[in-house]
């Protein structure tokens, strides 16, 4: 069965996110000083062939923890649905 996963990888809350900080600072240039606390991560989509949803979940989790996210710097969450 093919499942589609939608993964969000974000910098850990405790870490400085230089990119988010610079983008936050630029909001006043486009007239939106109300926008604060920008943090920038990655959105990854993929498909996985698995017996069932639990197995798909485990495989995606492994992909995230081994490669897609760097656990020292990032956390991730994902959703899975049948393709």
């Amino acid at each position: 069965m093919i499942f589609k996963a939608s993964i969000v990888v974000m910098p850990l809350e405790a870490l400085l996110d230089p990119q988010g900080k610079a983008v936050t600072g630029s909001m006043k240039n486009i007239g939106l000083p109300e926008i604060q606390n920008v943090r920038i991560g990655r959105h990854i989509t993929l498909t996985v062939d698995a017996e069932n949803a639990e197995q798909a979940d485990a495989k995606v989790n492994e992909a995230c923890s081994k490669l897609l996210a760097n656990p020292i710097m990032e956390y991730y969450r994902f959703t899975i649905e049948k393709a």
């Binding site: 910098p11 850990l12 809350e13 405790a14 870490l15 400085l16 996110d17 230089p18 900080k21 610079a22 600072g25 760097n70 020292i72 710097m73």
Partner: protein, 742 residues
């Protein structure tokens, strides 16, 4: 003070020895509270106090005719380069952070060393780095290399200072513990420097740059005893560098110094606020009153000890002249940088830290710092067995290789010798438009000093294999090689900075290597009149291999500064045109193959003495080279180092895709002639029309000279054997590292 009291157990958790805890209690005349003990744990750490190295560091030569600020006096040494300008330079390690997170570890290392330079008022104009990795074939090493190179590149490129030189070396001992040493070089008008000092009662104290988070306080947090699973999540395992912020901080800092409103300034590195407040106050013999709750924070609920110890990047402490606050604030606002007054200078030498009105730490600044109350230890050392063992090697028992061409091809593709362009092409080497090597590669990096006749020469050198073989001689060789590289490029050696990477100082054999290195460096620096302007010590560099923990190859990296009074003295390594004569200058016929890449890697003998080295012959060689260069007698000069004569000849050929036809006319074993790494030798090329001039200069010196042959249009001929075309060797040289990291 109502802060938690402490015991000797708390101290131990913070890495403070029982006798140190006793000393602290004695200094204060009472039991320190937790916040205060954290302050000592940071300041009396190896990193800040140099407690296990300072006794030996003091023996290094620090004085020279051009020294404006000696080692230890400021964040970095300061050398007079003439024309009213001074050069400020320093090298520093970021080894352990790079082992955990190579990208951020290396990036923040670059950030830290640059702050050391511009906090003194000098604008950085060049960066170099010296890197050591494990076996290039392993996944772990490849992960580290990719991360470190990308980290150095992204930070340095964005910060906008060219990376003009460096070295990369591989050995299994660095498998778990890479070495990442970064050097920054700045230029400042004499008299325009700013000191890391604090004085003038009532002068306001500012923190500027990034907000403070819980970075680098893990050790203290674990000792605090109130760490919960939830609060653990708030502890960053790595520090994140922000080169954009650093660039703004650079421009704002230099502008602030120009305004004359600043008393003193120091960047924040290890031990953050406590270190900068203590060192500046101790130097200026004043105290400070600091309100920690006024420090801008990135994370909520930061405790006083966290604020004191945080190592968040891109921050500075600035003491401002009272009444001129607005000038400073306007400049930082112009550059969109946060800037907050957190306290003021007080009489006496006491540091008083308040949090929400409550006194949370009350410490004599002097008691915290190196040169003041920080401990200084003698460590024992013993000669390891391998050293005596290495001297028993009889190289006569080593048979000659079957094919010399095969060995040459092996060496030119060896990762320690092959082109590092996969690495350095990821660094912006040309921003600033001062890199004179881009179109004329030299043994040292030549950096243009705009609007003057001068250029400076920079190099980082250390053959870790030689230092492992013999710490004293190996380190003297590192200094000599640095000087030789500068002389070959047309410069005059001026001063050095060092980065001393060693194993555990409590391991007597590792400490023996450290002591030997200091002795060798002292001898060589005195000899070449290149004082040590400063640097850094990194202990505890070790790898666990199998069930044994072994120190990394000892690596006292030498960063040397040289001066070219005339830019036109710049001399490249490249052969110029076919028909030019090739000579080998220096001691010939030693038959030495000790500690060569050939012996170590190709033959496989890992334990042998350091290569042939004679410091007096080295100086004579340098004098001859200076004379040849200043009289325009030679076309190129390239020293013999890793990979021996054949590597030098090939590298000289690669620049303009020429070749060479050489013959061995001296009696010595042929592998030593081609691949030996005896020190104090340089290959030069001479135009036919300059032969008389060349010979007349040679005649005035006592240096050995051997005519090797001639430059060709691309053929490589050795002793009548045709080895093929230069392009075949270039392909091996250029693709060896890239193909492994693809």
């Amino acid at each position: 003070m109502t802060q938690t009291s402490t015991t000797v157990e708390t101290a131990q958790k913070l890495g403070i020895l029982p006798q140190e805890y006793e000393a602290i209690t004695h200094i204060l005349g009472r039991t320190p509270n937790f916040t205060e003990l954290c302050a000592y744990s940071g300041m009396w750490s190896e990193h800040c106090s140099y407690k296990n190295s300072i006794k030996w560091l003091k023996t290094l030569p620090k004085d020279g005719p051009h020294m404006l600020a000696k080692a230890g006096e400021e964040n970095a040494g300061l050398v007079d380069i003439g024309d009213g300008l001074a050069c400020c330079f320093k090298i520093e390690s970021h080894n352990h952070p790079s082992a955990i997170e190579p990208y951020q570890g290396a990036a923040t290392g670059v950030g830290g060393i640059n702050r050391d330079i511009f906090t003194m008022g000098a604008r950085p104009i060049a960066q170099l780095n010296s890197l050591r990795f494990g076996n290039i074939e392993t996944d772990r090493t490849q992960w580290i290399i990719r991360g470190v190179v990308k980290g150095i590149g992204n930070y340095g490129n964005s910060f906008g200072i060219p990376t003009v030189g460096g070295e990369v070396f591989f050995d299994d001992s660095f498998e778990q513990n890479p070495l990442v040493n970064a050097m920054s070089v700045g230029i400042v008008k004499i008299g325009k420097t700013i000191s890391a000092t604090s004085h003038g009662v009532g002068n306001p104290v500012y923190i500027v740059g990034s907000a403070t988070g819980k970075d680098g306080i893990g050790g203290a947090a674990f000792a605090s005893g109130d760490l919960t699973e939830d609060s653990k999540k708030d502890l960053p395992a790595v520090q994140v560098g922000d080169p954009f912020q650093e660039k703004l901080l650079l421009e704002a800092t230099l502008e602030v110094i120009e305004s004359n409103a600043v008393v003193g300034m120091q960047d924040m590195g290890a031990a953050g606020i406590i270190c900068s407040t203590a060192e500046m106050s101790a130097k200026g013999m004043h105290g400070m009153k600091i309100d920690l709750d006024k420090v801008p924070t990135r994370q909520a609920d930061m405790q006083p000890y966290e604020l004191l110890l945080s190592e968040s990047q891109e921050r500075m402490l600035v003491v401002v002249k009272k009444g001129e606050e607005k000038i400073i604030e306007n400049i930082f606002e112009k550059w969109d940088l946060p800037c907050a007054q957190i306290g003021e200078v007080t009489e006496g030498g006491q540091l008083k830290f308040y949090y929400l009105g409550e006194l949370v730490a009350d410490l004599p600044a002097e008691s915290l710092v190196l040169g003041g109350g920080a401990p200084q230890y003698e460590r024992e050392y013993t000669e390891p067995a391998y050293f005596a063992e290495s001297k028993k090697l009889n190289s006569q028992s080593i048979s000659q290789p079957k094919s010399y061409k095969d060995v040459a091809q092996y060496l030119i593709s060896h990762p320690n010798i092959a082109s590092k362009q996969w690495v350095y092409n990821q660094y912006d080497s040309m921003v600033g438009t001062v890199n004179m090597n881009t179109n004329r590669p030299c043994d040292a990096s030549i950096v243009n000093i705009k609007e003057s006749n001068k250029a400076i020469a920079l190099t980082v050198d250390c053959n870790s294999r030689y230092v492992q073989a013999d710490p004293e001689t190996g380190t003297a060789i590192a200094v000599a090689e640095a000087a030789r590289n500068i002389v070959c490029s047309g410069g005059e050696p001026s001063a050095i900075t060092n980065c001393l990477n060693f194993g555990n100082p409590y391991n007597p054999e590792a400490y023996w290597q450290f002591v030997g290195a200091i002795k060798g460096m002292t001898k060589a620096c005195k000899h070449f009149q290149t004082p040590v302007t400063g640097g850094n010590v990194s202990f505890y560099n070790q790898s666990k291999i199998g069930d044994k923990t072994i120190p990394v190859f000892p690596t006292p990296t030498i960063g040397m500064l040289g001066i070219l009074d005339q830019k036109t003295w710049q001399t490249g390594i490249g052969f110029n045109q076919a028909g030019d004569y090739i000579f080998l200058l220096g001691k010939n016929g030693t038959g030495d193959i000790h500690s060569s890449e050939y012996l170590y890697s190709f033959v496989g003998i890992k334990n042998s003495p350091a290569p042939y080295f004679n410091i007096d012959e080295e100086t004579s060689l340098h004098e001859l080279l200076k004379s040849l260069i200043r009289n325009s007698a030679i076309e190129s000069a390239h020293d013999i180092s890793d990979g021996g004569l054949i590597t030098t000849l090939l590298e000289s050929s690669f620049v303009k895709r020429t070749g060479f036809d050489i013959t061995q006319t001296i009696q010595e074993r042929k592998d030593a002639f081609l691949f030996g790494e005896a020190q104090g030798r340089v290959v030069v090329s001479v135009q036919k029309s300059h032969l008389d001039l060349f010979n007349s200069i040679i005649a005035q010196h006592t240096v050995g000279v051997l005519e090797l042959g001639k430059v060709t249009n691309g053929e490589i001929n050795v002793d009548g054997e045709k080895w093929g075309q230069v392009d075949d060797f270039i392909n091996l040289y250029e693709n060896s590292i890239a193909s492994r990291l693809r």
